[in-house]
Amino acid sequence: MTALSSSMIYHWLEDVKDPEIPVLSLVDLGVITEVNVEGSDVKIVMTPTFVGCPALDLMKSGITEVLKSKGVEKVDIEVSYRKPWHSDLISDKGRQALKQFGLAPPPSGELFTDLDVLEHVPCPRCNGTDTELKNAFGPTLCRSIHYCNTCHEAFEQFKPL
């Protein structure tokens, strides 16, 4: 086996998806905040999108499973709030994946100075902004519910934070 590198680990972690949004990898979601390699041991630092995210344990076991299958002997995962997650950590690739999945990506942090930006979230289907916020809370902690007056359909947004 060739020597491990952190870029190799990041590449492999592309295979671990968010259990609630199976098109989005943990790397693109931005929850992996540090990867340290020491010989054949790997230490991952990760942080949840929302503190109460129930998918965290599944994410951790997904990471361990994938890295072990690649021959990593010891995987140590630390959950930390030192570098807290915020929605700007979602990569461009991740934002595209969310949109294709039918979830409106969050607006960038610069725009998100006021919760009013939730009122006219662009619809992931038609891109129109004639939309309304129906509920700041949705089926998972990280989603809100909106309605598009053009498509006459409800849609969800990955919430800005």
Binding site: V51, G52, Y81, L115, A136, F137
Partner: protein, 251 residues
Amino acid sequence: MNALAIKELLYKIADDQLIIGHRNSEWTGFGPLLEEDIAFSSMAQDKVGQSQALYTILHSMGEQDPDTIAFTRNAAQFHNCIFVELPNGEYDFSLIRHFLYDTAVAFRFEMLSASSFQPLAELSNKIRGELKYHTLHANTWVKQLGSATEESIARLQQSLVYAMPYALGMFEPSAFEQELIADGVFEGEAALREQWIKRIEAIIAQTSLRLPDLRTITAIQGGRVGKHSEHLQPLLDEMSEVFRIDPTAEW
């Protein structure tokens, strides 16, 4: 830094979040409309998750693991304020409590994000962002229903008057108040109360509701030192019912 003082602070914040989270979860399936059902259930999940993260800090300071802390203590060992353990009642009371409690807790975590106790500062910085959604929800409905019909205004007003002595109990000072302030861990209950009053006054002023004269109200305290109402133990019995059947079960 005084570890005992920090632990006491962590216990009261975490217990507040766990108990109000449990009360919020009791709206699941019973909300006055589907959207509210989802909102209260979602806030419950946030709050219970946040309490778990706070209990995890306590665990790293030598306390029991989070599940043991949450599910095996009796009422006298809980440090939450009495306000959060009161039954949900009608939606008007739940909404007023949500508004009064979340306004306070949002300020609390904002203050704590500058704490000299690093693990708490980091977690609080994270939690305060999440709580923006909770205060947005509370403010939206208080403003709408507080200026809507005669009935909605009268109901909210009645709940506001009933809730206020309990709400003031949120700021029951700790025995370690001075140490916490001197060590830069927490600015203290009095400072929090002051910010809270300004904020709720500003929101209430945008409605047809009237804030009772706070100088004439005596705060209902005791929760911080384990003196609770008769409502807490039944809540704990229900919350821990499944855990007690098999404490070693894997989920």
